[in-house]
Amino acid sequence: MPTVSVGRDRLFQALGRTYSEEEFEDLCFKFGIELDDVTTEKAIIRKEKHLEEEEPSEDEEVIYKIEVPANRYDLLCLEGLAQALRIFNGLDPIPTYNVARINKESMLKMHVKAETTKIRPYVVCAVLRGVTFDEARYNSFIDLQDRLHQNICRRRTLVAIGTHDLDTIEGPFTYEALPPPEINFVPLKQTKNFRADELMEFYKSDLKLKKYLHIIENSPVFPVIYDRNRTILSLPPIINGAHSAISLKTKNVFIECTATDLTKANIVLNTTVTMFSVYCERKFEVEPVQVIYPDGKSYICPDLSLYQMVVPLSYITSAVGVPLPAHEVARLLNKMQLYAKHSVSEKNETSFTISVPPTRSDILHPCDVAEDVAIAYGYNEIPKIKFPSLKPQSLNQFSELIRAEIAMVGYTEVLTWILCSYKENFTMLNRKDDKSTAAINGNPRSADFEVVRTSLMPGILKTVGHNKDHPKPIKIFEVGDVVLLNETKDVGASNRRHLAALYCGATSGFELIHGLVDRIMEVTGAPFVSPGDNTGYYIQSSDEPEFLAGRQASIIYKGKQIGTFGIVHPQVLDNFDIPDPCSFVEVNIESFL
């Protein structure tokens, strides 16, 4: 997106009020431009020279760098920005641009020679009469041409602009294409005469101009514009002549745009003349020029007529998604510099006749009109309409992620029964039933189904006990629910999602299970912290009967115990008929949600 640098104070003066930076950013955001940077002339120079940052002094002019949409050429200068924002704020009406009515005889003429088709076939021109320049306006005029050259003109390949002090030259003008040695003139900023081919050689060392040379360099003929006295106005798209250079004193400006793309040439010309006609004696009036092609066809330019477009109200409201009355839509369109006249058809359909001013070349289709209504209405005021969509169960989705992580570090998943015997859930784990944890089955068909497990441990140990012949080590895990008595629930019990893992080998594998605990915490994003710190997790020794004394620990996460791990007590191993030492961890993973 192009960036425009404007003096903050001059901009605020043009807008008729000052803004805080935040207020101005907000205005930009609503309108669809962006305050990209706040800087000063000196800071820009320092940055270019890669110098150290300095505190800006008070008297330096603050510069706003504003990003504008790439298709809004009318916003590429302070004049256009200020005008668009003033109209958006409802301060100004939409300007009406006029082409001065002068008779064909006294109209300036530009004769196009046939050879120009070989290199750069089009030219459009216009005159601004009675312009009052001051330094700021003059610089803005030059800057606008620069930005147009960089953007829509595609670095002068499509269009090149030449501006001249009309009082130094005399029409009619001719647009020709001649062999370079035949072109001879003093170019801008030089004092001596150059032949065009020599000039090209000369500019090869010019940092600014050398990048444009390729556009005509290899052509046998170069485009050139002469006045009636064979004074060279310009050698487009490279350089103007020194003779007709504009200055602060220039009153009458002759503008020519040579091009390979006529549509863009007209946009560039229109943008230039509309923006600076504000400084003309007759505000918003532009004097036309007749361009005569060798085939006899002639055109009067600029064409500042309004482009008419019929857009149904329903089209606009159905794009925006807000039912708006016709007068409101018309008001919103005016804020965006679009004239709108509404009419009602026989079928009772309301339509607008939109008049697009020459400054708004970006309006191609009714959808562009609809967008302007939406912008003026405020994107962030449009009520959102929800589509039906599904929400996942976080606990289950999280379990899936954790399961994959545990399997990836080499543990094999087992899926064991929720139901187990009373013994397995308590005495075989060296645990005593204090009657506060387990849901007890009232009518078990066998002892295997007496209790709803309160821990994943019995299922895991039974799995090991039945896989004695499996090569060691055995590394298994399970993620599943246990059921605990819970007075806060309507039924008095609730599920809890646990994760358990076990290592069984020739030695206990305690550090391996400890390492697995660290990994579980790592993949849940919990940092390892010092004991007492509630921002992450730490390990402290525990005293649970199912583990060997002194060989076990609790996992404390955000200050709460969420699980334990340790070497399974030899008595417990014996109870489950496991001949090899095991280490085991069990964690409540609901604590990670």
């Binding site: 549509t263 289709h365 969509s389 996942p392 400890h514 660290d518 070497i567």
Partner: protein, 551 residues
């Protein structure tokens, strides 16, 4: 020598056992985050245990002999007053006894006090004198009672003995050395030096004058001897319980686990790092975003075609041929295959017309559209190229509403820096249906982004050649305390949709964003190259948490 060495080596191994399980050996990781620093400091070697099983049994027996001797003696006696003497009595090497006393003292089974003794030992020279006699006596014996010439005496003795012997014998007034003749002054001498040296060798006490004299002649030197006096310690037991490093299968089989004593764990250290594979964080995020799209009823588009024509990438999207994005500065154009072979000709004709002169209610761009430009092959600059193919395909049949998404690689001819890569992943979602409005677009964006944890959104008008209206999406970042741009969205232009053949009342709302940006925000990564590409930090991939987006 060999044998002794091996024993010494074994001793150090045994000491590892005694000191316990958690030996802190640094575990190196090449990451600089605070977490990894913590880990680097606190990890211990996973190999301790394996070393233990390699211990040869014999040295343990030696050790246990010494241990039994010390503990057994103290059971019946108050004190071992001198470990040196004790070692001698028991016939055990004193070094062995010292090692076991140190170990028992560490576990406070005994209380050991240092003993230091200064004692005299013979220098190599003193050693020779003790064996063969002092030079002065040897010289005296070589002088016959009748005397002897100097030359003859010199011939009879080694020069060192002659030199030292004559000096000392003269000093002792045993002989007289004349100009040519050497003669005895006394008839008999005692070898007092030799007998003193033998006494010192045997540890007998000699007078301090004698010591001084021998010291001056450098025949003896002092040596500090260290030993211990040992009493019962607070944890004394006649037999030490086995200090185990871990519970083993053997412990279970023998049933001796009840007697095991373990050294305390250090829970300030982390456990042994797990071994295993890890998935790339960017693709973990991709997976979650795919899930989100599926939950929102979106179907994935096939995006496995990086090479694309300018036509599908740009022209079909109503992106004019002079658009800056179509510059070689921004797009990779292909040298091989340089041009596309087939395009749907009637559609191409409609696209050309809409660019040149409009239609479908549009003014068009008013330029001369060139087929050569459309034919140029490139690496797709956005997955919207795929969307244009999909929508065109959709338009060829009777209309049915669709919700499509894709997440795949796109390419930009950009200089690589902290936030830009020449290739990245684009996330794209689109809904194609009748009666869609900006309100729907805002609604679907809220649904999508709130699932990514971004529920505070605002929208800014923007320009994009193929969407109108267009909206840039901003999200308020709580961490950064500011609004950040997170994506782009809009309604596809009629100039794009109608030439495809979609019905006039069908709208398409769409949005796009990069996969990298939310991932970087999510994981706090500020250099894109740390995340994606060969300069990635592998430890970052490994320590990455699961992606919980959309949960």
């Amino acid at each position: 020598m060999m044998n002794q060495n091996r024993v010494a080596l074994a001793t150090t191994f045994v000491r590892v056992v005694v000191l316990g399980v958690y030996v802190l050996i640094p575990y190196s990781r090449s990451v600089v985050s605070p977490i990894s620093v913590l880990r680097r400091r606190k990890c211990y070697s996973p190999f301790t245990r394996r070393l233990l099983s390699a211990i040869p049994p014999a040295p343990i027996c030696l050790e246990s002999m010494a241990e039994e001797a010390v503990l057994g003696y103290l059971e019946k006696n108050e004190e071992i007053s001198d470990s040196g003497k004790f070692a001698e009595e028991k016939g055990i090497n004193h070094d062995e006894i010292v090692n076991i006393i140190k170990s028992l003292n560490g576990f406070r089974l005994v209380d050991a006090q240092d003993i230091k003794k200064e004692r005299w030992v013979l220098t190599p020279e003193g050693d020779l004198y003790a064996k063969y006699g002092s030079p002065e006596v040897l010289l005296f014996s070589a002088v016959p009672p009748e005397g002897i010439t100097r030359e003859e005496l010199q011939e009879k003795l080694k020069s060192s003995i002659y030199k030292i012997g004559s000096t000392q014998a003269i000093k002792n007034k045993w002989i007289e050395m004349g100009k040519s003749q050497v003669s005895r002054k006394v008839q008999q001498v005692d070898d007092k030096v030799r007998s003193l040296l033998i006494q010192i060798q045997n540890g007998e006490v000699v007078s301090s004058e004698d010591i001084d004299a021998l010291k001056r002649r450098k025949l003896i030197s002092s040596q500090i001897w260290k030993g211990y006096s040992v009493k019962k310690g607070p944890k004394y037991a006649p037999k030490r319980k086995k200090v185990a490093t871990d519970l083993t299968r053997e412990n279970l089989q023998r049933g001796d686990w009840k007697e095991l004593e373990f050294k305390e764990y250090n829970f300030l250290a982390k456990g042994q790092p797990t071994e295993g594979g890890c998935l790339h964080p960017l693709l973990k995020v991709r997976r979650q975003i795919q899930m989100i799209f599926l939950q929102m009823g979106f179907e994935e588009m096939p995006t496995n075609n990086f090479v694309e024509s300018s036509f599908w990438n740009f022209d079909a999207l109503f992106q004019p041929q002079q658009h800056p994005a179509r510059d070689s500065h921004d797009t990779f154009f292909l040298k091989e295959p340089s041009t596309t072979r087939r395009l749907p000709e009637d559609y191409v004709e409609r696209v050309k017309r809409v660019h040149e002169s409009g239609g479908y209610g549009s003014r068009g761009y008013g330029y001369e559209w060139k087929r050569e430009e459309a034919n140029k092959n490139l690496l797709r600059t956005h997955t919207t190229a795929v969307s244009s193919r999909m929508l065109y395909a959709l338009a060829q049949g009777p209309f049915a509403p669709k919700r499509y998404y894709s997440i795949d690689r796109v390419f930009r001819n950009e200089a690589v820096d902290r936030t830009h890569l020449a290739e990245f992943h684009q996330i794209e979602g689109l809904i194609c249906d009748r009666g869609l409005t900006l309100g729907h677009l805002i609604g679907v964006l809220h649904d999508f982004f709130s699932r990514l944890g971004m529920s505070k959104l605002k929208f800014k008008p923007a320009y994009n050649p193929y969407t109108e209206p267009s909206m840039e999406i901003f999200s308020y970042h709580e961490g950064l305390q500011k609004w950040v741009e997170i994506g782009n969205s809009g309604m596809f232009r009629p100039e794009m949709l109608l030439p495809m053949g979609l019905p006039e009342d069908v709208q398409v709302i769409a949005w796009g964003l990069s996969l990298e940006r939310p991932t970087m925000i999510l994981y706090g990564i500020d250099n894109i190259r740390d995340l994606f590409g060969h300069k990635v930090d592998l430890s970052l991939i490994k320590r990455n948490p699961v992606c919980r987006l959309g949960l």
